[in-house]
Symmetry: C2
Subunit: 115 residues, 2 copies
DNA sequence: ATAAAGCGCAACCACAAGGTTGCTTGTTGT
DNA sequence: ACAACAAGCAACCTTGTGGTTGCGCTTTAT
């Protein structure tokens, strides 16, 4: 078992870009906002406030599910969706990496100006 | 001047979803990674490693520029792109909000179980 | 038993996204 | 002056995305 280490920076990007993409939609952001409160909701419940049809909301939920932000559990005739924080923690790591790079660049610039 | 306060939660989503969307592409994530190091790069420089054409890279840069993650400065015959951290700080706020909601939900659940 | 609620599936549509090629315009090096 | 380089512009193509409608299937309520 060689090649155990397939965790390059590029590979991490490949896994995280879809998570960003999943959050790159107003409707899905509002779904996340509702579900991150902890209580699972059925599709009909999630459709309620929206102007969109149930099927549209379903599609959005499947997108979120495909990247693991959300998970569905069938309960009788309804399927309840619940939040999973892991993928979001993942992209927060990535954003922190970016911020860190930037901060280091700034301090390099600063020390260069001072000398 | 009434209506000074147009900063509802929905309005914030409307401004941030495009930032997430801009990051929701592997190529653009790699561009961000290069530029957040502090040094501005020309389009040709940014195209160098990639398999894509210069025009494709240009389009990606315009997407990043349209949400303010990146800014272009014309310098002679080349246009150099430089990173701007502000929009990314914005979405980090949003993600922190989500995480906070989730944590509160967890602790509510915990105290409910304990009693 | 049967009506209604809740979903899933599939077809379809309009349009945005990602990418290419070809050509033009401006800038730099010699 | 002129070749080479950097970039912009426009047309075009293919695929993906967001949305709809219609229909059928299971589960619940009456």
């Amino acid at each position: 078992m060689s090649h155990k280490r397939r965790n390059s920076i590029a590979a991490r990007r490949q896994r995280r870009a879809p998570v960003f993409a999943a959050l790159g939609d107003e409707t899905r952001l509002s779904l996340v906002a509702k579900l991150c409160g902890g209580q699972p909701h059925s599709i009909s419940q999630l459709t309620e406030g929206s102007k969109l049809t149930r099927q549209a909301i379903t599609k959005h939920l499947r997108v979120l599910e495909s990247v693991g932000i959300v998970r569905s559990v069938r309960a009788g005739r309804e399927s309840r969706f619940e939040f999973d924080p892991q993928p979001i923690e993942g992209i927060k790591e990535y954003l922190d990496f970016v911020s860190e790079q930037w901060d280091q660049a700034l301090s390099r610039l600063k020390s260069f100006v001072e000398n």
